[in-house]
């Protein structure tokens, strides 16, 4: 189901706007994962419905990125259930089964991880043509449309090394979209960017959410998470401490741990709120401020 009740920027929808009967697209239950003796996930439950944007917030090292890697089968939990659509991810063992899953799930990395030897356009075309076997001309047209969507059509022949961090990250988002996924996972996609370019990437994600793409975001951009998410999960030390509608988590957190975390995250160094109407401050304007 597509969402058509998207509120304008800044307001998260109330919990009851999502039909409770909708079967979740992503369902994690009691997921445990440890690297050696180091238990990273200690029983994670997450549900994401189709067309929903869900943010996972929490302190560093609380296992947020690990949850995303489990969903797309890059990591295998020791215990628990992971279901994406009708696929039982925790039971997949063959490469072919994992590939069938990954064709449906896009992943955007903190460090972009574009292919440096290919042009921007080739980065978008290679997976649809080599993996799905889509027609090359068709894939190129679609790639151009996606580059237009992330406002980078003028860079299609550039190499990733010639782009800024924000531009590379937008290409990475377009690359994930080129596979026509049902779901996209964003792993701290703005953490490696300088503040100048964070806004342009968030704008792209905001557009995707408005288009009804199912998104799971691990982020440190609290204001953005509040604005764009339907629901928010707060994790700490491998457990979900609290979850609920964005307005409730940010406006009236029930757990004292959540309250404390948000106070620190939002209190220190208030970030400028990104809305489509107010583009990020230009660099030369910043110099005046100094």
């Amino acid at each position: 189901m597509k969402r058509d009740d998207i509120p304008l920027a800044g307001l998260a929808p109330a919990a009851d706007t999502v039909t409770p009967a909708a079967a979740p697209l992503v369902h994690l239950q009691d997921v445990h994962l440890s690297f050696g003796d180091n238990a990273v996930l200690k029983g994670i439950d997450v549900q994401v419905r189709r067309g929903e944007a869900v943010s996972i917030i929490g302190p560093s090292g609380s296992g947020k990125s690990t949850v995303l890697r489990c969903i797309t089968g890059l990591l295998r939990p020791q215990r628990g259930e992971i279901v994406v659509g009708d696929t039982l991810v925790h039971t997949l063992h063959t490469e072919a089964a994992l590939i069938a899953l990954r064709k449906r799930v896009g992943f955007v990395f903190q460090q972009y991880n574009l292919f440096p030897h290919l042009t921007v356009l080739e980065n978008l075309v290679i997976a649809p043509t080599r993996v799905v076997g889509r027609d090359r001309a068709e894939a190129r047209n679609e790639a151009r449309a996606l580059l237009d969507k992330v406002r980078l059509s003028h860079k299609e022949n550039a190499y990733p090394g010639e782009l800024s961090g924000g531009q590379q990250q937008r290409v990475a988002i377009a690359r994930a979209l080129a596979m026509r996924p049902e779901l996209i996972l964003f792993d701290e996609v703005t953490s490696a960017l300088d503040p100048e370019t964070v806004g342009e990437v968030l704008t792209v994600i905001r557009d995707l959410v408005k288009d009804g793409m199912t998104c799971v975001l691990v982020t440190h951009e609290m204001r953005f998470a509040e604005e764009v998410s339907d629901r928010v999960y707060f994790t700490e030390a491998g457990r979900i401490v609290e979850h609920g509608p964005a307005a409730q988590i940010f406006g009236d957190p029930r757990s004292p741990r959540t309250r404390e975390f948000l106070q620190r995250a939002l209190g220190e160094g208030p970030r400028t709120r990104e809305t489509p109407a107010s583009p990020p401050l230009a660099f030369n304007q910043l110099r005046f401020a100094l």
């Binding site: 890059l74 990395f109 460090q111 991880n113 574009l114 440096p116 080599r130 190499y159 090394g161």
Partner: protein
């Protein structure tokens, strides 16, 4: 040392056309050190010709030069064949050194370490005496000439070095590239073919060219096992002419010939490295 001095000048000369656009092209040509050297040499030869005072050693060298160049061609043939063979074998061994089977990795590791750390002269003697001078196959007899043995002797260290260059290039591709390709639903073989290998080729090219230059220089050892290469020709020439000044001159010529062949390769390698450093992959 002369090598370094010229290399050091290279970027400055590259920048010159942009820095001084008003300078006439002819003037810039006059400043070229290679042209100056060439012009000076021509002037000296012309002076000798005009006055009839060409030194005997130089005249003999002129006589022997075609033979020396034919000898150099043998060296070049040997180096090309040895590096071609060594590269083919080395790529296979490099791939095997990443095998999931432990025994294979250990075996390849032994091969690589043994032949990377062996003196090339010893390897050439080794292949010369290990292989027979002719081979019998059913009723046919094949000769096994010395130059083939030298090719094999040089291909051994080449393959060991190429295996190491290849392994290093594969392992230098960040794990994140594998993860990114996996998340795009690539199979393992596809990641290797479409993502990792193309990036490796770019990284391997400069060290591979260095290796080629060093193997070319080692072909001079071929004369020790009876191959009629440029060094062997120089020895024959020096014995025939039997003049000390000619002997000195002929070995200087040898140095110049090897330099003229290997230096452009070194320059091209540096140019490649520079280009990769500026526009190349920056993961």
């Amino acid at each position: 040392m002369a090598n370094d001095a010229v290399l050091g000048r290279a970027p400055a000369r590259r920048a010159a056309p942009g820095a001084a656009p008003g300078l006439p092209a002819a003037w810039r040509l006059v400043g070229n050190p290679w042209l100056i050297t060439l012009a000076a040499a021509l002037a000296v030869v012309a002076a000798w010709q005009a006055t009839g005072t060409t030194p005997r050693a130089v005249a003999s060298l002129w006589q022997w030069l075609p033979a020396l160049l034919r000898g150099l061609w043998v060296n070049i043939e040997i180096s090309v064949l040895a590096v071609a063979l060594g590269t083919a074998v080395g790529l296979v061994f490099g791939a095997l050194s990443l095998s999931p089977v432990h025994a294979v990795r250990v075996a390849v590791r032994c091969y690589v370490q043994a032949f990377r750390n062996a003196p090339i002269l010893v390897l050439i003697y080794f292949t010369t005496y290990v292989f027979p001078f002719e081979m019998h196959l059913v009723q046919w007899t094949f000769p096994f000439p010395d130059w083939v043995k030298v090719v094999l002797g040089l291909a051994l260290p080449t393959s060991a070095n190429v295996a190491e260059i290849f392994r290093g290039a594969i392992q230098s591709i960040p794990a994140a590239q594998w993860e990114a390709a996996q998340s795009l639903a690539f199979r393992r073989g596809q990641i290797f073919r479409w993502v990792v290998l193309p990036q490796c080729v770019r990284r391997m090219l400069p060290p591979w060219m260095n290796l080629y230059a060093s193997i070319t220089m080692s072909t001079s050892l071929a004369s020790l096992v009876g191959v009629h290469d440029v060094v062997d020709t120089a020895q024959i020439a020096s014995n025939t002419v039997a003049r000390t000044d000619f002997t000195i001159l002929v070995y200087f010529t040898l140095l110049a010939l090897f330099f003229a062949y290997c230096y452009p390769i070194a320059r091209a390698t540096r140019a490649l490295e520079r280009r990769q450093a500026t526009t190349g992959p920056t993961p």
